[in-house]
Symmetry: C2
Subunit: 197 residues, 2 copies
């Protein structure tokens, strides 16, 4: 592709590294950016520069925010006696969108994985054990994957001495989900955990 200038080539190569983008969609995106210079390219360039300068990792919980400690850790209205442990900032965002949790978070930064060599010392576990002292409840909101469940078991043992109540998210039928399309594991979990109407 010698006839595409190096500036465009470089832009395409970097866009192709974004999750969900491949070489073809990166080319389409680059072209859309170059065509919509004022409404897309320049604002995005500025937004990236601002984000690079402003966004920090919260020293307490591992969240991303413009301040450290982050807005959630600083918010006195949020219950400091309930911690919700998540793998990733994306999971924290998802729970915040659901608006169901009014305590504070702890971002592990991943899940245990023997295959990928992710041991407890690679995750924010030490700071969690420290924070667990004097907390009433710890909700382990990790993914329902093999790695997530391994992490949950490990944390349950590690957090036992803290004396806090350890809970996990319920398994069951997703709201709006059809039984016919559900896997046996979910269906069986939902059946066992059935509740009186």
């Amino acid at each position: 592709m010698s006839t595409i200038g190096p500036e465009i080539e470089r832009l395409i190569q970097l866009l192709a590294k974004l999750p969900g983008f491949g070489p073809r969609s990166a080319r389409r995106a680059a072209l859309a950016l170059l065509k919509k210079r004022e409404v897309l390219l320049e604002p995005l360039s500025a937004a990236l520069r601002d984000a690079a300068q402003a966004i920090k990792t919260c020293e307490i919980c591992g969240n991303l925010d413009t301040t450290s400690p982050c807005a959630i850790c600083c918010d006195a209205r949020r219950d400091a006696h309930v911690l919700c442990v998540v793998e990733d900032v994306a999971d924290l965002w998802a729970l915040e969108r659901a608006g169901v949790f009014r305590g504070r978070y702890h971002v592990l930064g991943g899940a245990l994985s023997a295959l990928d060599g992710i041991t407890p010392d690679r995750l924010n576990v030490a700071s969690l054990l420290e924070r667990a002292k004097g907390v009433d409840e710890i909700v382990i909101a990790v993914n329902a994957t093999v790695e997530g469940q391994t992490t949950a078991h490990y944390l349950m043992d590690a957090l036992a001495p803290s004396g806090a109540k350890i809970t996990r998210l319920a398994h069951g039928v997703p709201v709006g989900g059809e039984l016919d399309y559900l896997d046996e594991g979910t269906l069986s979990a939902a059946f066992k955990a059935r509740r009186a109407l």
Copy 2:
């Protein structure tokens, strides 16, 4: 999502405007950018800034490049007597990747569409008619869509007085394609245009 800072919100909103991205994938991309600050966020920010400053639209053919006229229009080794008319810069890139064409291009900037109000004066048609003088062949390489074919017919009439030979891309079975999966239109075109082995 009040707990996500405005800088991250703005970044997600802008990423969601890229073709192929929705709100969910934009969030994933924003998070990937913030996590890989040195290898992704900062280089992409710089690449966008460079592209915004450097890339121009070629005054002759409508291609995007750091110079105007573009590298293809300036390349004396490329045949100035054969023009290839495409709808979009993406099509020009696709033909360049195929490496099959050694003439020069003309980017229309779209296709005729009564529905979207795209009339000939909204496209780079006037400059094409000007360039058509003294050219031997004009390959009309528009998309095989209704809009593309409408454009092709319009251009065939408009370019007739130039005296240049007007050609179009062949229809047929895509290389690697299976007959079973092809639509009747393509199959019928491929059959009619069959060639001796």
